[in-house]
């Protein structure tokens, strides 16, 4: 009973938030709605007993990814209205629904054919975090380390891409130097 109420409540909230994200014309509203939707998604993980995944969802998505987007938005002109593509609405919605159903069929087909077996069954008597730790640091140790290297590479790439000319400070330059920098930027 409680599970059903929680499921329907959070399903409604999540769908509403993500619908706002894809339809609003204000970038700031889209960001806020996306952050709220991420938190509501973590509620499903808690209902499903994946406590650690829910905590990671909140920390990584609303803590790291949304903060990164918020900082990134300071570089862009986000106050003006976002223009939309003027395409055929029915074709877009139809294609999207078709593709989404296909994805679910890809997930569900092996289960319907009844040949799915639990590779790493849940261990009795320990919490979710211990289970995750046991599986992650035995069976999935190499993918885990590769993911760590990938995150490091992404961090270095982000710094290199966004950090160009960060050593220049306009407040410390006089007008002639600023003009010189502007001309250089046009030429490059």
């Amino acid at each position: 009973m409680f599970e059903a109420v929680a499921f329907y409540l959070f399903a409604f909230l999540t769908i509403t938030m993500f619908f706002i994200t894809v339809t609003t014309s204000q970038a700031l509203y889209a960001l806020s709605a996306l952050a709220a939707g991420m938190i509501f998604i973590s509620a499903f993980f808690f209902i499903l007993g994946a406590d650690f995944l829910g905590a990671v969802q909140i920390i990584v998505y609303t803590g790291a990814v949304m903060a990164l987007y918020a900082f990134g938005m300071m570089f862009f002109d986000t106050t003006r209205e976002v223009k939309e593509k003027q395409g055929n609405k029915y074709i877009i919605v139809g294609l999207s629904t078709l593709a989404a159903v296909l994805v679910v069929v890809i997930f569900a087909a092996p289960m319907v054919s009844e040949n799915i077996v639990a590779l790493y069954p849940a261990i009795e008597g320990v919490g979710n975090t211990q289970e995750v730790g046991l599986v992650l640091f035995t069976k999935y140790l190499v993918p885990f380390e590769v993911a760590a290297i990938m995150l490091l590479v992404a961090m270095v790439a982000g710094i290199v891409l966004a950090g160009k000319k960060m050593d220049l400070s306009i407040t410390l330059m006089n007008d002639a130097e600023i003009e010189e920098q502007k001309n250089k930027k046009v030429l490059s």
């Binding site: 059903a4 990584v60 990164l68 939309e84 790493y120 990938m150 992404a154 790439a157």
Partner: protein, 102 residues
Amino acid sequence: MMEIGLNHYLVLSTILFAIGLVGVMRRKNLLLLFFATEILLNAVNVAFAAISHYYGDLTGQMFAFFVIAIAASEVAVGLGLLIVWYKRHSSIDLDALTTMKG
């Protein structure tokens, strides 16, 4: 109706994925396009966690973790590229990217 099964979660995942795809197809602003891809990844994560729960298998949760890691690095690199593009063209519209159009 009152018993929540795997199908409920898969239907929810389908709806969220469809919303994300609509966003990908109709958005012109690259930043909002990134938001739509986040929705796609989250929809798949819900399906992974639900399958993991109803089959008593932890592999689904493991893949959800790796999806989250990939999403985080995608944001870091994508936002860096977006900032470079904005510095050069002062616009992040998709139409400004069609420089190879004949």
